[in-house]
């Protein structure tokens, strides 16, 4: 089983969530929303490139639009391998957290 980084994990889940509408702007905004941090396009595309190379996502070109200076959107969606990787990551998380109650987070919140 291959491990993926947290950022990759976030991206994969985001792309999954956005479904047909996953492209640069929507992904970035969604990720920023989740992490509450402005994510930089440089970082975003760096990671997307990695995911492409690993074969977890696949890209396809949309139609050019005037808001984008006549450039077309590049849409991303998960490959089977990507879904599998996401599944693995989820399993891993569950294993890591298994038997640990919500106490810790509750404690932190209350203190």
């Amino acid at each position: 089983m291959k491990e993926i980084t947290v950022l990759e994990e976030i991206l994969l889940t985001t792309i999954f969530r956005l479904g047909e509408d996953a492209y640069g702007v929507s992904i970035r905004q969604k990720v920023s929303e989740i992490t509450k941090k402005e994510i930089i396009y440089g970082t975003l595309y760096n990671t997307l490139d990695q995911l492409l190379r690993k074969g977890y996502v696949r890209k396809r070109q949309g139609k050019p639009t005037p808001q984008r200076g006549g450039r077309s959107k590049i849409f991303y969606n998960l490959t089977v391998k990507g879904i599998k990787a996401l599944q693995d990551a989820r399993d891993l998380h569950q294993k890591i957290w298994d038997g640990i109650p919500d106490l810790i987070t509750d404690k932190v919140r209350s203190s």
Binding site: Y23, V25, E38, I40, Y41, G42, G69
Partner: protein, 873 residues
């Protein structure tokens, strides 16, 4: 009104485009724009711009990490490829590096020289505020052939300080030549001795090693020496307070030791004495407004306008000078200011302390330096493009595996830069080796240290970059444009860029031919001058300089003792030598019409043996003679030119007047002789004679050819007897004569060197090109030979093209060289004819060298056995 911006910030956009260029599928350009527009719509332009900026700037670290990584990998790879190529094609590499290195060496040498020339007098702290007050002579007058002089009137300096608030300070200089200084019975004949006022140390930056600058010239009987002179005269002893005797009559106390002045000064002072003592000795009135006899330097206040000062100086002449010396007066000399830093390169007046340089030399030198550099660059270009076909496969493969054109361009730029760096290192080493010889050649004390000389360091850096651009661009652009498909399909690649290459070779040879023509013309002109009959003898005449003022009293005795020796033919005392008569006056005689037009009449003070020693012919009348009592008072010999200028039909027996007022008869007319260097024609001149010879400075002795060393020893013995204090100072007249053409002789050798270099570098390139052409056509030649072509025929075939180039370049070079050398010859009154064969010879020489170079390559192919060539197909 500025329209409301609706675009991302300009700089960030540019930065983004730079990053995008690096990676062609930088796909987030669209995303960035879309979101920018979205934010602008929701939150306004400034928010959007801030967001955009943050996005772009924060990407920078990622981008750099990425770029560095790949650059390093590629650079290493390119280096390896470059070195492999250099190794594989050794002769190509050597030719290329050698050509560039030679070009760079001479470029650097010349730049060092020019830098030195431009640095003159800049070491003074006040350099920008110091001016010399020079004077322009009245219209129609000349002094030493010049229309202006460095001197002005004595009283001007104090008056300037007094009346003009912008003039902060002023100092006056006198200079004496060949002065006898004595310390404890040791005599020193000093060539240059200065007299100055104490302000000299305030105006100029002349630090004293010992002594107080304010006090050093206060006492009239004091002297300041330079360190080197103090060492020469006093050795290791403390010089301060010691006493030096001046001209055997005044005791001067050493009051200061001056740090040696740098060579880049238009005057170098080794001895400074107070101006007061000069006035004392010569009984001069330093407050007079008549004679233009003193050099004056003024220091203006910071920010003062020199033109305003210059324009108000004539007012002082209105106020103080006599009427004919006031503006508009017959003897008024217009004062003007010369910036201190401009003197060395721009001033050529009568009375310069030493001959200055000329800005034209700086231009000429730099032009030639750049031409040679360009020739070297062309070499590189030609060889690199000629060899480009051999890189075709490499380029094709690179392109196939995904190299973009700009990658290849970068690669080839990098390669030419490696060549350049090698050449630069080699050139710098050569500069170190050649600098001493070059310094001697340009008569400057040049030094070179790249680390101390930042201007030169950065200059070279920029030169290297520009050269890389010049030499590397064409090969880089050409090679990177190859189409992989046609290369790999083994379509025959023609050596591309032929036309440009031909143009460049033509340029190279045009420069070479031009320089050869120049070298030949300078050489011919010098020979022409040296062999021209100037109207007097030059051989076997020894000139003894009469520095001892006492010796004029015993001249007759000295002459008769000299003549007692059978090896001495004749001896004569005169105030000037016949190749350079400087004194001048206007024509004057009793009863001269008032409205007679002024012209310069040169005059030389001679004795009756002058004509014998110099073999000057008398055309009419007789020589001076002791037998005519009237000659003892005053007598004149005119030259033919003066007779014509005066328009006297019968000059013999008429009266003429010397400038101080003595009147004498014209006893004869001498044939015209060239009493100036041949830069000038023959002007009106008279020889003057009287019994008591006070103002003579030269004793010319005509000797027989036999045992010259013995005769010289005899001269020295006699001299010691008559002038025990003064060491003998003699030279041969023909050397003095040649000296007048020294700058031309130097120009001649410069052209020799540079034309040789240009030809050598051009031939290096040609050698490479010929080798390449021969190699390319090996098969063609093999077939031709099989079909019966002779070796000679093949040679002709291969050389035809090169011959054509040389002919074309000749047609370009000839008119340019003709115009340039014609202009140069205008410096001379007597010019060697510019015959066509000079030009043919130059082209012929270039052609022979070029064909020789080509032959070394083509003969190899032409004589090869075709079987060997054609076997491998």
């Amino acid at each position: 009104m500025r329209s409301k911006p609706s675009k991302p910030p300009r700089f960030s956009r540019w930065l983004f485009s730079v990053m995008k260029r690096y990676d062609e599928d930088f796909i987030w350009a669209g995303d960035l724009e879309e979101e920018f527009n979205q934010i602008m719509g929701e939150r306004g332009i400034s928010k959007a711009q801030r967001w955009y900026r943050a996005q772009v700037f924060k990407t920078l670290p990622t981008y750099f990490r990425f770029a560095m990584h790949w650059t390093a990998i590629m650079a290493k790879h390119y280096l390896i490829t470059a070195f492999r190529h250099m190794k594989r094609q050794k002769s190509f590499t050597v030719i290329n590096v050698a050509g560039l290195a030679i070009g760079l060496t001479f470029f650097i040498l010349i730049m060092i020289y020019i830098q030195f020339e431009l640095s003159y007098d800049r070491y003074h702290t006040n350099d920008d505020n110091i001016y010399r007050v020079a004077s322009e002579l009245p219209a129609g007058h000349t002094h030493g052939g010049k229309t202006a002089m460095t001197r002005t009137v004595f009283a001007l300096a104090p008056a300037l300080i007094e009346e003009f608030p912008q003039v902060k300070n002023a100092t006056r200089f006198m200079r004496n030549r060949n002065v006898l200084l004595t310390y404890e019975n040791q005599n020193f004949l000093e060539k240059d001795v200065f007299f100055a006022e104490p302000q000299v140390f305030q105006i100029f930056t002349l630090p004293l090693e010992r002594g107080q600058p304010e006090a050093a010239l206060e006492d009239p009987y004091s002297i300041v020496l330079s360190q080197r002179m103090a060492e020469r005269i006093f050795g290791q002893k403390n010089p301060m307070g010691r006493v030096i005797r001046y001209e055997n009559s005044y005791d001067l106390k050493v009051t200061g030791i001056l740090q040696n002045m740098p060579q880049n000064s238009h005057f170098v002072m080794d001895f400074i004495m107070p101006l007061q003592i000069y006035a004392l000795i010569r009984e001069l009135d330093l407050a007079q407004w008549q004679n233009h006899a003193i050099v004056t330097y003024i220091q203006l206040t910071e920010g003062a306008d020199p033109h305003a000062v210059e324009e108000s100086i004539p007012g002082l002449f209105w106020k103080y000078a006599e009427s004919d010396r006031q503006p508009g007066g017959r003897r008024y000399c217009r004062p003007f200011l010369q910036a201190l830093t401009s003197i060395h390169l721009h001033s050529d007046l009568d009375g310069e302390f030493a001959p200055n340089s000329d800005i034209k030399n700086v231009y000429l030198f730099s032009t030639i330096a750049f031409l040679i550099l360009i020739i070297a660059c062309i070499n590189y270009m030609n060889l690199a493009t000629a060899r480009s076909t051999q890189r075709g496969k490499e380029v094709a493969i690179r392109k196939v595996v995904g190299a973009l054109r700009h990658h290849l361009v970068k690669q080839f730029y990098g390669e030419s830069f490696i060549f350049l760096i090698f050449a630069l290192i080699l050139g710098l080493a050569l500069v170190q080796v050649l600098l001493p010889a070059f310094s001697t050649f340009v008569e400057r004390d040049l030094s070179f240290s790249l680390l101390d000389n930042l201007a030169l360091f950065f200059g070279l850096l920029i030169t290297a970059i520009v050269m890389n651009f010049l030499a590397g661009s064409y090969p880089a652009l050409l090679i990177s444009s190859f189409r992989p498909a046609s290369v790999l399909k083994k379509q025959i690649l023609k050596a591309r860029g032929n036309r440009l290459r031909n143009v460049l070779v033509v340029f190279q040879f045009a420069v070479s031919v031009g320089l050869i023509v120049s070298a030949v013309v300078v050489r011919l002109q010098l020979d022409y001058i040296k062999n021209r009959d100037v109207g007097y003898d030059r051989d076997q005449i020894v000139i003894i300089r009469l520095h001892d003022p006492q010796i004029t009293k015993s001249l007759d005795a000295l002459k008769s003792e000299l003549k007692a020796n059978p090896n001495v033919v004749a001896a004569t005392a005169s105030d000037a030598l016949p190749n350079n008569i400087q004194s001048q006056m206007g024509p004057r005689w009793p009863g001269m019409p008032k409205d007679f037009d002024y012209f310069d009449v040169y005059v030389s003070y001679v004795d009756e043996d002058y004509m014998d020693v110099y073999g000057i012919d008398i055309a009419n009348g007789r020589n001076f003679s002791k037998e005519f009592p009237s000659d003892a008072q005053s007598a004149f010999l005119f030259n033919e030119s003066l007779v014509n200028a005066l328009g006297w039909e019968q000059p013999l027996g008429r009266e003429f007047e010397i400038w101080w007022g003595d009147v004498g008869q014209v006893v004869g007319v001498v044939k015209n002789f060239n009493f100036h260097s041949l830069h000038r024609g023959i002007e009106p001149m008279c020889l003057y004679y009287r019994k008591d010879q006070r103002y003579v400075y030269y004793l010319s002795v005509k000797i027989r050819g036999g045992d010259i060393p013995e005769t010289l020893a005899f001269l020295e013995d006699i001299w010691r007897k008559f002038s025990p204090n003064y060491p003998i100072d003699y030279s041969f007249f023909d050397d003095i004569f040649d000296n007048a053409y020294r700058s031309e002789a130097r120009l001649g050798s410069m052209f020799n060197v540079f034309s040789f270099l240009a030809v050598a570098i051009a031939c290096l390139g040609l050698f490479g090109l010929a080798a390449f052409t021969a190699e390319q056509r090996t098969k063609e030649i093999g077939i031709r030979k099989v079909l019966g072509a002779s070796g000679a025929g093949i040679f002709m075939l291969l050389s035809k093209e090169f011959t054509k180039w040389i002919m074309i370049s000749s047609f370009i070079a000839w008119p340019i060289a003709y115009l340039a050398m014609h202009a140069w010859q205008q410096n001379f009154a007597y010019r060697a004819p510019l015959t066509p064969w000079i030009f043919l010879l130059a082209s012929g020489a270039a052609a022979v060298v070029a064909l020789g170079t080509v032959a070394s390559q083509t003969l190899k192919v032409a004589t090869a056995n075709p079987v060997n060539i054609l076997r491998y197909e």
